[in-house]
Amino acid sequence: MISVQACLDGILLGILFALIAYGMALQWGVMNIINIAQGDLVILGGYIAYFMYLYGIHPAWGVIVSPIIMYFVGIAIYKLVINKVVDRDLFISILATFGISILFMQLMNFAFGADVVLANSGYGTTMLFDNNVVLPNSKIFSAFISILFAICLVIYMKKSKLGRAIRATAQNARAAKILGVDTEKVYAATFGINAALCGVAGALISITFTIHPYMGLPYTIRSFMIVIVAGLGNLPGVAMSGMGLGIFEEFADYILGTEFRIGSVFLLLVLILVYRRFKLSRKREYLK
């Protein structure tokens, strides 16, 4: 039963990670920017839901309000900083987003205080297999909402004009520009959409786990890891990779101990990179 519990916990957790990672993959693919501030945007989204909760509004409404506010925060960050580094070296953008990350941490600490906070959803618990497997409904809700947003996004990217423009820019920004796509607008929208996804994830995290101004980095690392494994522009890959990572983390926690949880994620990242390199080198030999 422990295995079933670990698998289900891992899947539910992984779906949430995948949502954050999808935002990162989208923006990385379109703008070639690795956003170190991804986790901090998530936490900011969480605070929006938390403040709604403080003012007596159910935090679940945060999944609607938080992405709307975060979209505009994303646009603002793009206009102020990202558009100045979007065509530059990848290293510059990493530095810029690292700076944004530090700034956000400090501003959140200044504005919201350094206390660890959470929003209680009061959703209760689902018991399965003769009460041997326990799933908090808040985690099930989080996974459901994450899937819902992912599906909406995929449809939007396929059907809408802006979605098609974003995909075109990701494939070849120069060609898209020549064909009349306003890439500047596309970049701003992409960054906004990513921030909105972080807003959704943050609201879900505030009702599932805890939030704190300095808690963003683990989410950045996990989404980076998922994108590295799944590749860019591959939503099913990101979803599978997210769930796989979630299950792997839960099992590592049970078998090796909680202290090795994050360490095992890094180990897995190294193993996957080595394996990929090995596979690539074999392919190259074959091509010769």
């Binding site: 205080g113 350094a114 808690m215 839960e250």
Partner: protein
């Protein structure tokens, strides 16, 4: 051109001379005893840093308004120079250096947290500056042979061993099974060592010994093990994150355990954030307002609580109370030393034996306070959902009877 250079050099030298001479005031200026403190006013410890600062300020105002410090027949008043250490140990050490070597401070108050105190202690030791600290409980601070470090609080290893004793007592003196989950930081690991000692002393058995990561926000794996192993006691220490995460997930996963003991419930505002879900949790605390210790300045815990709440608009957590106590210790030591000589004040501090509203204070050779036991309170809620912390151990201070075992979730 030459004359111009000479004039510039002359004025630069003069400016340098004036600037260095104005900032190098000594520890006593006029009728003021200047203490130095690096406090976390920003960064991740800023909440508790502010509690610490409020505690210091409250005591300074109180002591000054009640006659100040009498040394050599003259009355002095306390004043504190604060710097923000940004919750960063390196910065804290730099600021301690600055307070001592640039600002001329000769007596220091401690920062918030064991980690920052560890960073500052070598600096104060190097310069022979007596430091009374109120927020560094890690055992490792008191095993390094520091001569100028004095802590008014009980060391970390004493935080939760009372809980194991209590569980054994409830089990008719027989050993119990213990599940442990401790964060990997100096403080929590010291708490763990204390619990391990208690386990060995009482013939108990540890069944789970998990180390929680610093970026902890999910304890589900540990709690599943707890559900399987059914221990008699679950002990958790992971600062406010640990306390909040544990209560949330224990409630969500309906984990039944006869006794749940943890640290930092006060700082985590457990009963406020989790309401009835936090009911029955046992929490280690350095101080509680209902304790009956007394002094001339704050009278007792209840009066301190009322006065602090009036001044700062919130009830004092123990971090504030122990910070206020640090000033009372300094005042007592200055008056007994009857001098501002650092060595004499240090010796007077080492010989401290007093009672404050916060508790008895008597320092061991390592600098830790050995005369003040920890207290355990239990979160108790009424039918309307209003929760209160009530002291249940040690029995001498208990204001309520321990509820044990904790009713199962199906009965709640």
């Amino acid at each position: 051109m030459k004359i111009k250079n000479i004039i510039i050099t002359f004025f630069s030298a003069l400016a340098l001379l004036i600037s260095t001479s104005t900032i190098s005031f000594s520890k006593v200026v006029g009728d003021k005893i200047i203490l130095g403190a690096a406090i976390s006013l920003t960064g991740k410890y800023s909440s508790n840093g502010v509690h610490t600062q409020n505690g210091y300020n409250m005591a300074v105002d109180r002591i000054n308004s009640m006659g100040g410090v009498k040394v050599g027949g003259k009355t002095y008043k306390f004043d504190i120079i604060y710097y923000d250490d940004e919750s960063n140990p390196k910065r804290a050490a730099q600021l301690a250096e600055r307070l001592i070597s640039q600002d001329g401070v000769e007596f220091m108050l401690g920062p918030y947290s064991s980690g920052l105190t560890k960073a500052i202690a070598p600096v104060t030791e190097k310069y022979g500056v007596p430091m009374v600290e109120a927020n560094g409980a890690s055992r490792s601070l008191f095993t390094k042979g520091y001569k100028y470090l004095f802590a008014v609080l009980a060391p970390a290893n004493l935080y939760l061993d009372v809980a194991i004793d209590l569980a054994v007592e409830k089990n008719n003196g027989k050993g119990v099974t213990v599940a442990m989950a401790f964060e990997q930081d100096a403080f929590s690991q010291d708490v763990r060592l204390g619990v391990l000692d208690a386990i060995e002393r009482t013939g108990s058995k540890k069944v789970i010994d998990d180390k929680l990561p610093k970026e902890l926000n999910d304890m589900a794996a540990t709690l599943v093990k707890v559900k399987q192993m059914k221990p008699d006691v679950l002990v958790v220490s992971g600062h406010t994150k640990g306390a909040l995460t544990a209560i949330r997930q224990i409630a969500e996963m309906k984990v039944d355990v006869p006794m749940l003991a943890m640290t930092h419930c006060d700082a985590a505002k457990l009963s406020k954030q989790h309401g009835k879900n936090s009911q029955y949790a046992l929490c280690a605390s350095q101080w509680h307002k209902t304790l009956t210790y007394k002094d001339d300045f704050f009278k007792d815990g209840m009066t301190y609580d009322a006065d602090f709440t009036k001044e700062f608009g919130y009830a004092p957590p123990y971090q504030a109370a122990e910070s206020s106590a640090a000033l009372l210790v300094f005042k007592d030591a200055f008056e007994r030393a009857n001098s501002f000589d650092q060595k004499k004040v240090r010796d007077a501090l080492a010989a401290t034996n007093m009672q404050t509203f916060y508790g008895n204070i008597k320092f061991a050779p390592g600098g830790q306070n050995v005369d003040k036991p920890m207290v355990l309170f239990q979160v108790m809620c009424d039918d309307g959902g209003k929760c209160e912390n009530k002291v249940v151990a040690p029995t001498k201070w208990a204001s309520a009877k321990l509820i044990h075992p904790i009713p199962s979730w199906s009965e709640r």
